[in-house]
Symmetry: C2
Subunit: 500 residues, 2 copies
């Protein structure tokens, strides 16, 4: 085999993987946006087949030979090619360990589970979903062994979402969060509460749709390459760096809900839109780890979007979209309202300060489920107990409890911690960005272009070219959660007058 | 090889073909509905790869061996299996003759051409589209040879859309249409014109959307298995018999436009929803030929939807959706308006009577393009001349002329005649249905269930199990276009008072 030939074969292999991924994503997107209700079966059959074909492609002995050949010629490869071979090797080894039948069975299970979870959530019927959760846990525990049998199962899963992360680090991370934030939350709870009643007036979906367009414009998102749809749970899906989709959900009784979903998903979208062209159609296209991805989405959502300068910048326009609803409201009142701290039941609607506790609860439960210390049947009970313990709230039913998130029904165990990690990465990135840019002057002028350019230069452009820890280190030095806890302490002490 | 094993392999092969088809359809659907504007490139790459993979699957020598084995055991196979093997054999032989590079190049060309055609149509710039049309014609002429080199190229293409159809039959068919309908159209042109001005009042898209839902309900379309979207050109897409999508386009200045699109596409949808369960995920799932498919869509659109009893049945509800616009209109006026005959420029907006002439013009041009008697550059000139000759209208620009349809940019040559054939099949089917059912009593009561059941029993359920000519013969005897010309003569003589 000639090297040139091998490189062409590697390109074609990656293009095929891209094509299968794009097909699966398109079917998924259709399923959660416009597909009629009772159509999961056909999609399930197709997704099962496509997953099997793409696995077959990756685990083809020819692929193994190709990778070995390229590894032998490692010295002749440039950085991009080397990284491609590394990523492909990891995926090849992992996939080769998963029996094809199991892989296809799992793809079908996830498709069915999503459908069942929707129905279970609607009727708050955990018993309906429980057998699926059980099987999903079993599969993930087994898959963890295929991913990396030298690690504990949950560590192996964590590593899939945030390479290099494990329970030991996360236990320390969450301990620090707990130690620093628990007294803060307690103090906030005793302070005078801010008024956010005007967020819950009637905000018609149509006006909210136009408001979303405005927010995406402020964020500098190129709409010829990024669409917006509506789903129960907002998400971002990237086909290429020229084709990204975000979704949101309009709650007519809460204008902040979709507003911050759009800014959050918009942050994910900017990441994907900022990846270099030369990485497209390869395994290096698309954002890196979940944690780094969340660092971008939560950066825009909270650090920028919930800052006083940002709210002041967009508020006049917001009043134009909702003249009746906001006629007696000031920008400062809006700033306080969108930062109201209130321990609550639903993660996606949680405030910035208590959010991490929602994540911590899920982390504890996942850790035990995958570790085999907890059975699926016991999840509601433990869930409700932890919410009482950490957040002081009573869970009235499973719809507002352990059935609220789509992650487990989607087969994602080990994903949740990345939300908390991302928040912490972001705070540290902001700290460094402030040394380079007039961040708040820009935000006050409603101009996020320099901010996005900074993130693009340090993070977005690289796609999957570097390891998560390296990306974080390059952007803002060795990871230290203190930036995050300091930021929260300062912000919420000011809002709730605790420093006075 | 054991027979049981071979049958399982045939099932898996067909499921894979289904999965590739579903993936391609999902990408297409996304592209024409919700995808942002500048995203064709990524989809093109993915579609090219998927087309190549699905071709590789079908033309795999293993597939050839499997089919030979099953053909040797033909006597042991049931009807369904035999037909599967026949259809697969035809596709295998055809596909095996197309070089993979050509096939992938063509898939990419079609994706690009669609994009270019949209832009060309917008700016009425035929020169922009012309090189693509040229290449599409070249490819189709070449592919025709791969399909069946014993036939003339255009006959081979016609055979793909309506098996058994050829230029000889179509020339006779269109000659008869021309002979019977031309004097009728002339007489109508000299009669008192009906008033349809109220169709062109302002009909807001939102009210039209609710009206579409109502129409689909009247048609008895199960919305848990059939969605509706919005595209420039309405179409129907079937994933399975439990997952069908139709699209429409809302013209706020013409309430009849989307109304009859929805009924037309609803007819296609009912066909797909009516195919037997046991044919799913095989090459026999999905409607048969284009002509038979159009017989169903145009049956609902014209024979039922533009009948006096149907308009009378839906009109009271229509007035509820559009109270201001229709307050001074009667059901009879509506009936006359939606049947107004007016030679015009746009096929999809043509009346029932002149429609066939639009089709005939396209047939003549395609026949010559593929036959090599006409160059792509000459299309606008010939198009405009034929519109003057047959319809007596002047084409002001190519947007309203030869750039109006998406068929050629989609690579479909030989498709158009099926619209006219379908209309004619439908009229003959109605004639037979009237012997079995109280068709017009049912329609008057707004109950189409018996009508759909009749069509399901005679046509829909069989999917691709029989040949087009057999389906038509089983439903209504030997095909005879006289039923169609008689129907049109009777209907339009009455409307325009020609029999008085």
């Amino acid at each position: 085999m000639e090297l040139e030939q091998a490189l062409q074969a590697a390109d074609l292999l990656q293009k095929k993987m891209f094509a299968y991924g794009m097909a699966e994503s398109a079917l998924y997107l259709d399923g959660v946006t416009v597909a009629p209700k009772d159509t999961a079966e056909g999609r399930g059959v197709a997704l099962g087949i496509l997953a099997g074909e793409s696995q077959k492609l990756l685990t083809d002995p020819e692929t193994g030979k190709l990778l070995s050949f390229l590894e032998e010629h490692r010295e002749e490869l440039d950085t991009v090619r080397r990284r491609q071979v590394e990523v492909l090797r990891r995926e090849y080894d992992q996939m080769s360990r998963i029996p094809p039948e199991e892989y296809m069975e799992y793809a079908k299970l996830v498709n069915d589970a999503d459908d069942v979870w929707h129905r279970a959530k609607e009727t708050s019927d955990f018993a309906l979903f429980c057998p699926y959760l059980k099987r999903l846990v079993e599969f993930n525990r087994k898959f963890a062994g295929y991913y990396d049998c030298t690690k504990k199962p949950y560590d192996a899963l964590l590593n899939e979402y945030e390479r290099g992360m494990d329970m030991e680090r996360l236990d320390r991370f969450f301990a620090e969060i707990r130690e620093k934030l628990t007294p803060l939350i307690r103090a906030v709870g005793q302070a005078q509460q801010v008024d956010d009643s005007f967020l819950h007036r009637k905000y018609p979906a149509d006006a909210q749709r136009r408001f979303s367009d405005y927010l995406m414009e402020v964020m500098g998102i190129d709409r010829t390459h990024c669409g917006i749809g509506e789903t129960e749970h907002p998400f971002t899906l990237n086909f290429t760096n020229k084709d990204v989709r975000i979704t949101t959900n309009y709650d007519e009784d809460n204008v902040a809900s979709s507003m911050y979903s759009v800014i959050h998903e918009g942050g994910h979208a900017l990441y994907e839109l900022g990846v270099r062209d030369d990485l497209q159609y390869t395994v290096l296209a698309g954002g890196l780890s979940m944690g780094v991805h969340e660092s971008q989405s939560r950066f825009y959502e909270n650090l920028i979007g919930r800052s006083r300068p940002f709210v002041q910048a967009v508020f006049p326009k917001m009043q134009e979209f909702f003249p009746e609803q906001l006629k007696d409201v000031t920008a400062e009142q809006m700033y306080l309202a969108v930062n109201r701290v209130q321990p609550s039941l639903i993660r996606t609607e949680a405030d910035e300060l208590t959010y991490c506790l929602h994540v911590m609860i899920r982390y504890e439960i996942e850790k035990q489920l995958i570790g085999g210390m907890l059975e699926a049947e016991e999840v509601p009970e433990v869930w409700n107990r932890l919410y009482r313990e950490y957040l002081g709230v009573e869970v009235p039913d499973d719809r507002n409890g352990c059935l609220q998130d789509s992650h487990w029904s989607g087969g994602s165990f080990g994903y949740f911690p990345s939300y908390a990690l991302g928040s912490a990465y972001g705070a540290q990135m902001l700290h460094c960005m402030e040394q380079d840019l007039d961040v708040w002057g820009d935000v006050r002028r409603g101009d996020l272009s320099q901010i996005t350019a900074w993130l693009r230069g340090k993070i977005h452009q690289y796609g999957n070219l570097l390891e998560p820890a390296d990306i974080v280190r390059n952007a803002c030095g060795e990871f230290d959660p203190a930036y995050y806890t300091d930021y929260l302490t300062k912000k919420y002490s000011e809002i709730y007058g605790l420093d006075r």
